[in-house]
C-alpha cells in the first residue's frame, strides 16, 4: 500500500489543559494500520511554515485517531485554531510503533509461560500521549488472551510539570496510575524516576516516552535491573518519512568494527530499545 497525504476531517479540537489540546480526526486510511507509538505528519495551512509537524497518534477508535498536542510555537498554535468540520492535511501513519510482540512472544499458547507480570508505561509531559493508546492496546491483548490481572498488570508511571493530563484514560486502562509533578500539585513532588524509587516499583517490562534526560535515566536504571525497555525518541524532523536524514539518533552498531551508527528517528524509530540507544551523543 502506498503511503499518502490525506485530507482528514476534524471531529473535535478541544483544550484539555493549559496550552494542551486534543484533536480527533476522521482519517480512515491513517487509522487502518495505526499502532501505538506511531505518529502522523500534520501539514500546516500557513505556507510560510513548510515543514510538517510530527504528532504521535494517541488513540485510535474505528476510523478516528486522536492527537494530544501542546502549543509549542507557531505551528501548533495554528493547529489550536482549527475548528471541527474543517479539513486538516495529515499523513498516513509513520514510523515504527511500540512492539508488543516482544512482550507476548513466549505466551502465545499458554499464558503460564508469561514471564512479564508487570508492564510499566513511563511517561513524562507530552510523552504520555502515545502511552494511552498503548495501555488500551495492552488491555485489548489481555482480553484476547483472557489474561487475568494476576497474569499481567499494567501500571502507568507519569510525571508532569504541574497539571496532569489524560488521567481518566490511564485509569480506565491501567491497574495502577502513579503520578509525580515537579510542582507537587498532584502526587509525588518530583520526577518519574524518584517516583519509581519511592514506590519501589519493579516492572518486568517498560515502555517510555518523554524528555530525553528522563529516558536516559530510565534506560540506565532498566539496564542495571535487566528490565527490557522500549523508548520513543523525539528529534527535529524535516520530512518525517525518511527522505532527508535530518532526524537521526545514535544507535549501537551490530556489525563488528563499528561502534555506533546514526539511524533515522522517523523511519527506523521513533521507538527503539533503551539499550540500543547511545545516550551520550
Amino acid at each position: 500500500m502506498f503511503k499518502k497525504i490525506i485530507e482528514a476531517e476534524i471531529i473535535e479540537n478541544k483544550k484539555i489543559a493549559e496550552g494542551i489540546y486534543r484533536m480527533a480526526v476522521k482519517a480512515p486510511e491513517t487509522a487502518a494500520d495505526a499502532r501505538a507509538g506511531q505518529f502522523v505528519n500534520i501539514y500546516l495551512r500557513n505556507k510560510i511554515m513548510l515543514l510538517p509537524r510530527p504528532i504521535s497518534i494517541s488513540r485510535v477508535y474505528d476510523d478516528v485517531i486522536t492527537l494530544i498536542y501542546k502549543i509549542a510555537g507557531k505551528g501548533t498554535g495554528e493547529l489550536s485554531a482549527y475548528l471541527p468540520g474543517e479539513p486538516v492535511r495529515i499523513s498516513t501513519s509513520l514510523g515504527n510503533g511500540f512492539q508488543l510482540e516482544d512482550v507476548f512472544k513466549e505466551t502465545d499458547s499458554n499464558h503460564n509461560l508469561n514471564k512479564v507480570k508487570i508492564i510499566a508505561l513511563v511517561g513524562g509531559g507530552m510523552g504520555v500521549a502515545p502511552l494511552v493508546g498503548l495501555a488500551q492496546k495492552i488491555m485489548n491483548e489481555k482480553e484476547k488472551r483472557s489474561f487475568k490481572d494476576d497474569d499481567l498488570q499494567v501500571i502507568a508511571i507519569v510525571g508532569f510539570q504541574d497539571e496532569p493530563i489524560l488521567m481518566k484514560e490511564f485509569e480506565t486502562c491501567c491497574n495502577h496510575v502513579y503520578i509525580a509533578t515537579e510542582s507537587g500539585s498532584t502526587g509525588l513532588k518530583g520526577n518519574v524516576l524518584q517516583l519509581i524509587e519511592r514506590k519501589g516499583l519493579k516492572p518486568d517490562y517498560c515502555f517510555a516516552c518523554g524528555p530525553r534526560p528522563m529516558l536516559k535515566a530510565l534506560a540506565n536504571r532498566c539496564e542495571n535491573a535487566n528490565i527490557p525497555l522500549q523508548v520513543s525518541l523525539e528529534e527535529r524532523m524535516g520530512c518525517g518519512y525518511g527522505a532527508c536524514v535530518g532526524c537521526v539518533c545514535r544507535i549501537k552498531a551490530k556489525e563488528e568494527g563499528v561502534k555506533s551508527i546514526r539511524k533515522k528517528v522517523c523511519t527506523d524509530g521513533p521507538v527503539f530499545f533503551g539499550n540500543e540507544v547511545v545516550w551520550d551523543d
Partner: protein
C-alpha cells in the same frame, strides 16, 4: 492538480524528453540530492514516473554527518546541516543501487568528498556500475573540510573536474554552490575542463538563532538554506550560467510547482530537480511533473525546447 497522467497518453502530442550529457531522460523532472530515498520516497509514488533520480551524496567511506538538530525551519524555507551522512559508496552499490535499478528511470549518483583523492576513489568505483550520470557535489556548505572550497574557487573547480574526467567514462555534472561572487566563472571553469553539465543551485549558507534558548538552532550553527525563498537567486544564476556556457544545466532551488519548473526551463535549464518540495509534500516530484504537463498543454508547448526558447 492533475494526478496519474500516463506519460504515454501524451506522447503523441507532447515530447517531455530531454538529453543530458548523452543520456535521454523521458521527462525533465528529477529528485534533488539529499531529499530522496528510493525506499521511503517510493512508499509515496511510483519512482518510474520520474525522468531521473539523483541520489543523496555518497562518499568513499561511510560518513557520520553532523549531530542534531540538523533541521530548522525559516520563512518560506528551511536550513539543513545533515553533513552528508551516508553509508559509503560500497554500501550504496550493494544495497541502494539494485533497488534504484528496479525502476524505469535514469540513475544519477551524487558524489561528495573531502579531498580530490576522495572524489576520485568514489567515482572510479561508480564508473563500472549500472548508473547513468555522476553529479559531483563541490558545493555542500555543511562539511568542514573540502566540499565548499572546491565550488567556491574557479581554479579548484577546474582541477577537480579535470581529475575526475581523466578517470571516468560516465558523464559528469558539476553541482555548483550559489555562495560565490560570480557563479559563471565556476561554470565556465567546469565546462572548459570537460564537465558534461552543471547543476545549480545548492543551498545558500544560512543561520538561525533561537532567541529564547539563546543558541543557534542547528548544532552545526550554520546550514544550507533551501526552499521557495531561494528561488529568485536560483533563477538568476541559471539565467546567467545559461548565457555563459553551452553544456546542459539542471536547474533547482525552490521548485514547488509545475510553473516553477517551467520558469527554470525558460531561464535556460535543460532539466530540473525537486528538493525541499519533496519534504513539504512527499509526492511533489510527480505532482510537479504533472503540473508541467498541464502547463505545456494550456500554453501549447510541444516540447521542452519550445519553453526554453520562449523567453523574450
Amino acid at each position: 492538480m492533475i494526478k496519474n497522467i500516463n506519460d504515454k497518453l501524451y506522447h503523441a502530442e507532447l515530447d517531455l524528453s530531454v538529453s543530458i550529457a548523452g543520456v535521454t531522460l523521458k521527462n525533465p523532472v528529477t529528485t534533488a540530492s539529499g531529499t530522496f530515498s528510493a525506499r521511503e520516497s517510493g512508499a509515496f509514488y511510483d519512482i518510474s514516473e520520474l525522468g531521473a533520480v539523483i541520489t543523496k551524496g555518497v562518499s568513499d567511506v561511510p560518513w557520520d554527518g553532523n549531530p542534531t538538530p540538523r533541521i530548522a525551519e525559516t520563512y518560506g524555507g528551511m536550513l539543513n546541516s545533515v553533513g552528508l551522512q551516508n553509508p559509503g559508496v560500497e554500501d550504496f552499490i550493494k544495497h541502494e543501487l539494485p533497488l534504484l535499478k528496479s525502476y524505469n528511470t535514469k540513475v544519477i549518483v551524487n558524489v561528495v568528498g573531502k579531498t580530490i583523492n576522495d572524489y576520485c576513489k568514489t567515482v572510479e568505483k561508480l564508473d563500472d556500475e549500472a548508473i547513468d550520470i555522476m553529479e559531483i557535489n563541490i558545493s555542500c556548505p555543511n562539511i568542514k573540510e573540502g566540499g565548499i572550497s572546491f565550488g567556491a574557487d574557479p581554479k579548484m573547480a577546474a582541477e577537480i573536474t579535470r581529475e575526475i574526467k581523466r578517470l571516468v567514462k560516465k558523464p559528469i555534472i558539476m553541482k555548483l554552490t550559489p555562495n560565490v561572487t560570480d557563479i559563471t566563472e565556476i561554470a565556465k571553469a567546469a565546462e572548459y575542463e570537460g564537465a558534461d553539465g552543471v547543476s545549480l543551485i545548492n543551498t545558500l549558507l544560512g543561520m538561525k538563532i533561537d532567541v529564547h534558548r539563546k543558541k543557534p538552532v542547528l548544532w552545526n550553527k550554520t546550514g544550507g538554506l533551501s526552499g521557495p525563498s531561494i528561488k529568485p537567486v536560483a533563477i538568476r544564476m541559471v539565467y546567467q550560467v545559461r548565457r555563459a556556457v553551452n553544456i546542459p544545466i539542471i536547474g533547482l532551488g525552490g521548485i514547488m510547482t509545475g510553473e516553477d519548473a517551467a520558469e527554470f526551463l525558460m531561464a535556460g535549464a535543460d532539466a530540473v530537480s525537486v528538493g525541499t518540495a519533496a519534504l513539504v509534500d512527499p509526492t511533489a516530484p510527480v505532482r510537479i511533473k504533472n503540473e508541467l504537463i498541464a502547463f505545456m498543454q494550456q500554453n501549447e508547448y510541444k516540447n521542452l525546447q519550445q519553453i526554453r526558447d520562449a523567453l523574450a
